[in-house]
Symmetry: C2
């Protein structure tokens, strides 16, 4: 089965990793949000791309889900001593990714070319692609004004009250090379359990992607479980936007794009009110086996739609 998975950070990366264990590399393309990308200390940082690649390479930190396993922080400690900026933590191993990517971007390579090159180096089989090679920047509209995503998310720890989002540069962005082809060739599109507002929406809003996705069987896995997000500010965002956070709210967010929806066993009673085919199963991916089991169930559910 040939699929395209749309993914943001940790949750999306875990399910994508499950698919990677099941499918042949040529049957899986993971299109990743780059709205969180930013420049910091002169480095181009692409948090979701790195999380997906590190996870699939088996080198992600098992404690945090992002960053590198067995990371060291000697760079950061010494930067702090020099009075440098430390609100965004960069590990010694992780730094190699940012520095080399920045160098290659300056040398004229595209983000998708660099990602492909890194994936080869890391032994990642499936295609991992940024949603676009053009800069799209998620801006959080809040009671404290407009905030760049990482400022809201990391520096301010999601404390400003969210009123909406804006994806700067998205009108001029093109789907990265191969993304539309992969969607066209796919039997189904899986929306991973990532934040609908700031991980999946930016991907779908890159001109051309939504209309290509609409032609396909689309299945989403709810990132909201029992009214809460496993990780990240999705539930908080729903509340601040005046919507009760629930799997149902996620389904409504995607609307008639979905042919099927995957919800956690804890939300079992919501299944009948969704108005679409639902798979009810355990969706929290604590261990590697959980990713593979959920991946298999989602693929089998999707095949049956």
């Amino acid at each position: 089965m040939k699929i395209v998975a749309l993914a943001g950070g940790v949750g999306g990366a875990k399910l994508a990793d499950g698919f990677a264990e099941i499918l042949s590399p040529e049957d899986l393309t993971i299109v990743v949000n780059t709205g969180d990308d930013f420049e910091h200390l002169g480095l181009y940082i692409s948090p979701d791309l790195d999380t997906v690649c590190y996870t699939l390479a088996g080198i992600a930190s098992p404690e945090t889900g992002w960053g590198r396993a067995d990371e060291t922080w000697h760079f950061m400690e010494n930067l702090e001593r020099l009075g440098g900026s430390t609100w965004f933590r960069l590990g010694d191993k992780d730094l190699a990714t940012h520095l080399e990517r920045t160098r290659l971007l300056k040398a004229g390579q595209s983000l998708s070319e660099i990602t492909a090159h890194f994936c080869t180096a890391w032994g990642v089989g499936p295609t991992v692609s940024p949603m676009s090679d053009q800069a799209v920047r998620t801006v959080v509209l809040s009671d404290e004004g407009e905030l760049a995503f990482q400022e809201y998310f990391v520096a301010r720890r999601c404390s400003p009250h969210v009123s909406g989002f804006r994806f700067e540069g998205i009108e001029a962005a093109l789907p990265a090379p191969g993304v539309l082809d992969a969607i066209y060739e796919a039997e189904a599109i899986i929306i991973c359990p990532s934040n609908p507002w700031v991980s999946i929406d930016p991907i779908l809003k890159v001109p051309g992607i939504l209309s290509a996705v609409k032609e396909k069987v689309v299945v989403a896995v709810s990132p909201i479980i029992g009214g809460k997000a496993v990780k990240g500010p999705a539930a908080r965002m729903y509340k601040e936007l005046g919507i009760a956070p629930s799997a149902q709210a996620v389904a409504e967010h995607y609307g008639d794009l979905l042919a099927g929806f995957v919800i956690d066993s804890i939300d079992r009673e919501l299944a009948k009110d969704l108005g679409l085919r639902a798979l009810v199963t355990d969706t929290i991916m604590t261990r590697k086996e959980d990713r593979i089991r959920l991946g298999k169930e989602v693929l089998s559910f999707t095949k049956d739609l």
Copy 2:
């Protein structure tokens, strides 16, 4: 006693460290070669400045003399995995210096401002100053054509046959702020045991520095001991330029600039032929005590001139 020390890398840094242990911070200014500076992986790297600062801060690697003590190489290992450039080794701790300096330079600060700021952070008391805030680049003329200094020194491990040197940009360079004042106020100028061709000459050739130095009592410490350099390519350069490497050749290089010269005990018999006042003593600085003892002897010798 108020002095200005002119220094390149490891040998110069060690003697400067000896002076720093003896003199009050306000009585010591170390003017450092920046002809070896270069841009690498998008970072501004200033090897001699870093060696001097790390040494005075007590954080230099005791094994190599350059780089940081207890350094780790996780960045480098991961850069190598990505196919990045690894000919110039950058440690995790050291990276903080390069990244923060590059960021501050891009933000409009000068190299001398940044060096002063870093010295405060590292607890370095004496003034450490780049020779100039303008870019001067040592180019090695060789049988393989012109080579940027680090390319000759690190990438090619000094294997090309040297025929001369060129200091790109030196005509337009100005002494860094405070350098001429420090020389003017100094009772003596000490030329540290650094490479005359590529560490001291660039400093002296910054317009204005040589004529200011000439007004002072100048003492040099020979970097050539028993016909050999303790570290680095000085002896090899002498040979390739057709001059037998010796303490005498160093004295001749500086010519009538010198009022006194410090040579190693091993070169004792050269003292009488130098035609200038000489201090004969042990000049190899293996331990911290050697630096202090040599520093004291050099200062006392200089005072007596």
